[in-house]
């Protein structure tokens, strides 16, 4: 039985990739500490001039009108390796790659969404070792890496001792709300409690598409401008603290009794991709509406009322669009329901939310309130988000990589893969 010590020295540098469907978060880390993390569009894109952009090349794009995307990650899972390889080559392996490395001298930490299909996991392992030939590799569900962040500091508690090696948080409940979906994962010592993982099929894509539909029905046809609608969503949407009151405030009233729109109603000035490359939100001005379509008028404006809060509401009330799932707070309780009740207090007191949707205004407030209403009265409910919920999973991976000993016990080396094969690797990473 070969032991760790007989294996070649573990690579000193680790490439950490949180491979999301919308963006991948990637950068290096080592015992010396994490390096810079880049947020890279995980896509190939083609603009209306037929120019194709790969990954981070998209930042060179000036006109997002009618732009279309091809994404290798579908439903949260890495499905199309032809496209993903193209993006990885461009970002990591080509001579001029922005985060260049030689995989044979580099370790890899790669995230996947929980409950992945075994065939996709095997595909991934084979490409990593047989094509890219990374020296070592740790594949894990993204939520797991968050256990290596300083969770108590996120709850405004005392920060951990930077001199000590990074160890996983003892117990936490991690909610990851991204582009494809929202997952609930209880973690013990950085290990997922698999039977309690729950997925809500509401994510950023669904919300953007829903906003696209509402705007297209009510104002302009935005169906070929989902990139722009996503920006509108990020600029304007918020989670309502009082859905009924906000609904009243944004209603136009009846024919006989018009209401003055409240302060929730905002205008979004659309970009024209010439003098105004980016759109922005501002207070609603009823008089601007009449100028639309007037030649020489420079501004196209969308007015957002209840669209601002009915869109993120889908995470809390999926049945608003007929989706037969309970909302995120109920999913947290469903997750707990299969666990020993003795774990509930610690899990409910340590809920961390990561992923882009955690940035939606008042998301954390509402989630904590909704869970509070469902949880046993004796339990303290604490919900928090890290300083940057989009980078958090990557940061956890980068923290883990500073503890080279811990990482090497979790990783598989190229030599082990060559000796034992991909089925062994799959079991090693906890697959069935």
């Amino acid at each position: 039985m070969p032991t760790k010590s007989s294996a070649p020295q573990a690579p000193s540098r680790t490439l950490v990739i949180d491979n999301g469907a919308y963006t991948m978060k990637a950068g290096f880390s080592s015992a010396a500490g994490p390096e810079e993390c880049r947020v890279i569009p995980n896509c190939m894109a083609r603009d209306r001039e037929k120019h194709v952009y790969i990954g981070s090349q998209l930042e060179k794009c000036k006109d997002f009108g009618d732009i279309v995307f091809r994404r290798p990650v579908e439903k949260g899972y890495l499905v199309n390796w032809e496209a993903e390889k193209e993006i990885w080559e461009h970002e990591f392996f080509e001579d001029k790659a922005p985060s260049h490395c030689d995989p044979s001298e580099t370790g890899l930490i790669l995230t996947e969404a929980p409950n992945a299909l075994p065939v996709l996991q095997t595909n991934c392992d084979q490409v990593v070792f047989e094509e890219f030939q990374f020296a070592s590799y740790f594949r894990c569900p993204g939520p797991v890496l968050n256990a290596y962040n300083d969770v108590q500091a996120t709850f405004k508690g005392p920060a951990r001792d930077p001199a000590k090696p990074v160890l996983p948080t003892e117990i936490m409940l991690l909610i990851d709300s991204g582009y494809s979906h929202t997952t609930v994962t209880p973690l013990l010592q950085g290990r997922p409690l698999q039977s309690a993982i729950r997925r809500l099929d509401v994510g950023g894509k669904l919300m953007t598409n829903y906003l696209t539909r509402l705007l297209s029905l009510r104002q302009y046809d935005m169906r070929n401008d989902t990139y722009l609608v996503n920006e509108i969503k990020e600029a304007c949407c918020y989670v309502s603290r009082d859905f009924h009151a906000d609904m009243e405030q944004t209603w136009k009233g009846t024919r006989g009794e018009k209401r003055v729109p409240g302060s929730i109603v905002k205008d979004y000035v659309l970009p024209d991709y010439h003098s105004r490359p980016k759109g922005y939100m501002r207070d609603h001005d009823p008089s601007t509406k009449k100028k639309l379509g007037v030649p020489g008028e420079a501004e196209d404006i969308l007015t957002l009322g209840n669209e601002r809060f009915t869109v993120p509401e889908l995470i809390f009330n999926p049945t608003d669009i007929g989706l037969r799932q309970s909302g995120i707070a109920e999913q947290v309780m469903e997750s707990l329901s299969v666990l020993p009740i003795g774990l509930w207090p610690a899990l409910l007191a340590n809920i961390i939310v990561v992923g882009g949707n955690a940035n939606i205004s008042d998301f954390i407030y509402r989630l904590q309130r909704d869970i509070r209403a469902l949880a046993p009265a004796e339990c303290i409910v604490r919900v928090a988000r890290p300083a940057d919920p989009i980078l958090a999973t990557w940061e956890g991976g980068a923290a883990l990589a500073t503890n080279t000993e811990a990482l090497s016990t979790l990783s598989v080396t190229k030599q082990e893969y060559d000796e034992h094969g991909s089925a062994w690797v799959a079991r090693r990473f906890g697959g069935k």
Partner: protein
């Protein structure tokens, strides 16, 4: 569902506790009705994917059904559209010069396995149905000579039938919180040796893992440091249940991952009993008025007028 034809100029409605005065100045238009939103859930289609509690979900309550097959189909269509990557079908091919590493510093020879992976244009849905077909096949096949090892060691006595043929059925989740939850047996084709393989962190290859012999949870450190008025209340302290034993935690951690469909969050029994919120299809406010031609909802006369123009062109007068 009872429909009240509009026969008064002012109608008072109650929507989720919010009392609304509706001032309808115009004469009642034909073909629509005020509908109180007190309907019980069930209006969403039954053909959406269900998950673990498939058997329990099979028969959603059928009382007070106020949707039609046409509306259910519409919801399904709309959900499918909301799931799409883009409005149009797009194809962005990888630049030809890059295929099979041509013109690029290669990582070495492409292995046959990798070549197959790179050439695959299967979608997630393709892979998922492959997986389901394989699982169905595995559960249909008689389990060959796998008596003891096929039943995972984590199984708690009394929670499932030990008969191997029961693997095709999902066990309903137990609410008994004193018993560590169990997973159902694997439905994929698996050899007994695979099933018996302990998870990696317990295997001998990781005996040098620093935490192996340490307790999974210490009793200190998990209580949140932020103080709470009730933290030291002896009455409440005594109510907090004890932590599971080390052995129970190991059993929990040894449960293998659920499948994609099994992990899909439920529509809880309690939520099924709540009324589904209906919104105006024109402006997004509460959908208190129902168009009797198409079943669509609108908020009041302004939106009804707009809706009816659309409705006439779609369904005729």
């Amino acid at each position: 569902m009872i429909q009240h034809d509009l026969d008064a100029n002012t109608i008072t409605m109650i929507n989720f506790g919010v009392r609304e005065e509706l001032a309808a100045k115009a004469a009642p238009a034909p073909g629509w009705a005020y509908v109180p939103d007190t309907g019980v859930n069930s209006s969403v289609t039954a053909s959406q994917p269900s998950s673990r509690k498939r058997a329990r979900n099979a028969n959603p309550n059928t009382s007070s059904h106020d949707t039609t097959a046409k509306q259910d189909a519409k919801i399904l269509r709309e959900l499918a559209a909301l799931d799409r990557e883009s409005h149009r079908d797009v194809s962005i091919p990888v630049p030809i010069r890059h295929r099979d590493n041509a013109g690029r510093i290669s990582h070495g020879k492409v292995t046959p396995a990798v070549r197959k992976i790179l050439q695959s244009q299967k979608t997630f849905a393709n892979h998922l149905s492959d997986y389901e077909a394989l699982s169905a096949l595995a559960s249909a096949l008689p389990q060959p000579s796998a008596p003891a090892p096929a039943t995972p060691a984590i199984r708690t006595p009394g929670t499932t039938t030990p008969h191997p043929a029961s693997t095709g059925k999902r066990t309903h989740r137990k609410r008994d919180l004193n018993v560590p939850p169990v997973s159902t047996p694997l439905r994929r084709v698996s050899t007994p040796s695979q099933l018996a393989t302990p998870p990696p962190l317990n295997s001998e290859s990781t005996t040098d893992a620093p935490m192996t012999d340490a307790p999974i949870l210490s009793t200190d450190g998990i209580v949140p440091p932020a103080s709470h008025p009730a933290d030291n209340d002896p009455l409440l302290m005594s109510k907090i249940p004890p932590l599971p034993t080390q052995e129970e935690l190991e059993k929990l951690l040894a449960i293998p991952p659920s499948s994609y469909n099994e992990a899909r969050g439920e529509w809880t029994e309690e939520d099924r009993r709540k009324p589904i919120r209906k919104f105006c299809e024109v402006c997004g406010y509460w959908g208190r008025v129902k168009c009797t031609r198409c079943g669509g909802r609108v908020c009041a006369l302004d939106c009804l007028t707009l809706h009816q123009e659309d409705c006439f062109t779609r369904y005729g007068a």
